[in-house]
Symmetry: C2
Subunit: 493 residues, 2 copies
């Protein structure tokens, strides 16, 4: 046999833009998603788990004549089908909405209609990775497919409010803002701007409202403005009085929903589309009230413009309103953690039939970061009780101790490294975040006792105590073997 | 602008070999994995979630000179690095062990040692799909990396036993069988067969023990045999008396562990490796007993040969021992649901240092199927209470009813389809598996009452009752609006 050529060692590295989640990273996210799923379930939503892989055709982001359709997604071509020509292009899903569209079309005769579903799982983006920007991340979506009623939109908002609170964000620490694309369409109608390049320009301009403010939008809609770098940004070219209805729309939020709706009615003039949009918002406001959702939880706010170009009806955005300190100690708002709205054409691509849908997507990583910033996570920090190994031949007895602790519901493990150096065992317990170490040498075994070491108290004493106090070892107690579980329970409180 | 060419409609289909999981499929699997995770956690194992994507280099299944390394895995090449030549080959993980190896090497200075971790998630295989064979499926693994002690192996077996029982498989309905590769190595040593082509042939032959039995293995080790189709299968070419130690090994299971161990000691002759292997099994048996794991839960059984070629020390396999009826009504054994063992070279590929490891993998789909066959799943079957819509203008009041029910912990939803046809609403409730429908028309609203319809009782009556009984509608009750929640609670029991 030919001698194998020696291979260089592979690099032990995650691919660029990917990461691993350890311990509490996994359990805290799971805990949060479980809480959210409880609320979705109680609202009649069913879980759906599609596979990570879809055909590029079904994902529908790409033209078939592109040689390698991997811009934005991770895609590859299946091997040739024997006698059947080129294989399909497959890709990792880039969101949870495209697979829902495929499912809603594929199973349209079997699914209940309307179909309420939630989905939680990773999605993949083939983008340039950067600090804090990953190419695999979690999404958590809930959508209702097949209902044209604004009752579906109101339900989504109420459910989002309940989900955020059940996950741990307190009432008053978040606000769901609701807008409606149809109102903006009505404004454009009233302005005499038909759907086309100009209305697209107006939409793109409005999207900058967050950044440039009222005056900035006014300039951009008319003659243009200088940006921070001094560069001249061309305007859309509207006359000043033509731009005013758009400004009126963006700034129409009043002291309460009634005032906001009145301002909007004034802004839309005689537009039928606009009137329909304002009516929808009025209905949503009424239904939220009926469901017990207050204006401190969800409110009509036409200044919410993110996604207004994409959605076709009501649009939602949830912001966290509390301040956190950033890495430089500066106060800042936490910002948006969820967004959604009503969209058309979801299933139409596949079937030719229009199917109305509305939904919400929660930013899993952002919400988790917010819960951590509020000190609402971190319950997983405590490690297991570590049963140390003083005498290799009595491993069975150490394992029996761990088994007894587990039977009492206490997380416990036997030290499984090389037991020769006892210091290493305590270092290991420290690395594991163990609250308690169990020690039993031959002498203790003969006397039928165990040493129970309170590692948390021990660490405190080590940090603060004098040498004499330290030597007294108040953190270590000898108890009869039969009292092991009771003593550990006492220490764990 | 050029007019867009009309695209043909995309097909709404999952790629071949992939599938979607709906409702109870998702929640039942989650419930089972949550139960298993509880046990792993209590044993000191920490969760690890690696990304779905690894470099082909780190996965390590492929030679770098293969043009397209996608045999067996889904792989693709990253776009060219600007100025840096060809991009990396990336691939979807095909199991959870290869990523663990990469993590153990990459984070070897940060992880506790030994490192106990569990992982649950999908893996992908680029194989020809077939009936019941999918290209994405779940794995559920637990491994201890960095411990050479058989205490780690014993712990894995005890933990597997606890996990199966906590998931719902009763004691007596499963059995974990334990073998040891070192004993077989000892047998080969005693036979005078050195490591090489002949020992490889012997290992391959042993792997067929399940299928061809004792006599079949004897024939295959010596002169060969005819298979069922009449084809002649060549033998390994051992002399009959040379083959006997292998047969003795495979059939050495006695009435209890002590007898099995005695039989093995006789079979290995003077081999030191063999003695080491038998000692390890004896230690594992002792430790299992110390942990309270009985011989009806885990037992030494040298007839377990699956994976014996891959593992380097103790080998485990868990079988379900109860019978189920297959689709043709025939009784059959459920078979294996978990397997594992000790393996070397996990981290060595990356670092050059040997790191011992041992672990177990549970077949998620098989175990779930077993729990379903035992009638231990299916709690998710009941749908939400459906509040029907008799009067579109009173949607807020219907939503208030649903909100009240949810606040009382009852799953509830308002019908959001077109309410015109009331029959469709009841059909929808039926499709949803709803236990109760709520009905309130204008007349009921005026009188301050609601109709509460027991759909389960209703279905029973519809199936059995006479026309008169049916007309009496005992399944529908009118109650004051204020008693809605109480009445629904009464029906749900």
């Amino acid at each position: 046999m030919a001698k194998e050529k020696k291979q260089p060692r592979p690099k032990a590295e995650t691919p660029k833009g990917f990461r691993d989640y350890f311990g509490a990273d996994v359990t805290e996210r799971k805990q949060m998603l479980d809480r959210i799923a409880e609320i979705y379930h109680r609202h009649g939503f069913d879980p759906l788990e599609t596979s990570a892989v879809e055909t590029v055709e079904a994902l529908g982001k790409f033209l078939p004549d592109v040689d390698r359709p991997n811009a934005g997604v991770f895609a590859w071509q299946e091997a040739e089908v024997p006698g059947g020509g080129a294989g399909d292009w497959l890709a990792l899903r880039y969101d949870l909405t495209a697979p829902l569209a495929r499912v809603a079309a594929q199973f349209r005769n079997d699914l209940p209609s309307p179909y309420r579903r939630y989905a939680m799982g990773p999605v993949w983006r083939n983008e340039k990775p950067g600090p804090g920007r990953f190419r695999q991340f979690y999404q958590c979506d809930a959508d209702t497919v097949g209902s044209a009623s604004v009752a579906a939109d109101a339900e989504i908002c109420a459910m989002l409010s309940a989900a955020l609170e059940h996950a741990g964000i307190q009432r008053g620490d978040y606000l769901i803002r609701i807008n409606n694309r149809k109102v903006l369409n009505g404004i454009l109608e009233a302005m005499g701007v038909p759907e086309g390049p100009v209305s697209d320009d107006v939409l793109r301009t409005i999207d900058k409202f967050d950044k440039v403010g009222r005056d900035g939008v006014r300039q951009l809609l008319t003659t243009g403005r200088k940006d921070d770098s001094g560069a001249e940004i061309a305007g859309v070219g509207l006359a000043p009085d033509q731009a005013e209805p758009v400004i009126a729309f963006l700034t129409s939020k009043g002291a309460d929903n009634a005032e906001t709706l009145a301002n909007l009615r004034a802004a839309i003039g005689a537009s039928a589309t606009g009137a329909e949009g304002v009516d929808e918002l009025a209905q949503i406001a009424d239904m939220l009230q009926a469901m017990g959702v207050g204006p401190d939880q969800a409110i009509i706010d036409p200044s919410i413009v993110r996604g207004l170009g994409y959605y076709t009806g009501p649009v939602f955005e949830a912001e966290l309103t509390f301040e956190i300190l950033d890495e430089k100690g500066r106060k800042r708002q936490f910002g948006s953690v969820a967004g959604g709205g009503r969209y058309d054409g979801l299933v139409e691509r596949f079937t030719g039939q229009k199917v109305p849908a509305t939904g919400i997507s929660i930013g899993v990583d952002r919400l988790l970061a917010a819960l951590r910033a509020k000190g609402l996570m971190g319950g997983e920090a405590q490690g297991p009780v570590v049963v140390t190994v003083m005498d290799r031949d009595r491993m069975g007895e150490y394992q029996a101790m761990a088994a007894e602790l587990r039977a009492a519901g206490i997380r416990a493990e036997v030290y499984l490294g090389n037991p020769k150096n006892f210091g290493n065992q305590l270092k290991y317990a420290d690395k594991r975040g163990s609250p308690v170490a169990i020690i039993q040498g031959g002498d203790e075994a003969d006397r039928g006792v165990v040493q129970v070491k309170d590692l948390i108290l021990g660490a405190k004493i080590a940090a603060q105590a004098s040498h004499e106090e330290w030597k007294a070892q108040p953190a270590q107690t000898e108890v009869p073997r039969g009292d092991l579980v009771a003593e550990v329970r006492r220490i764990l409180g």
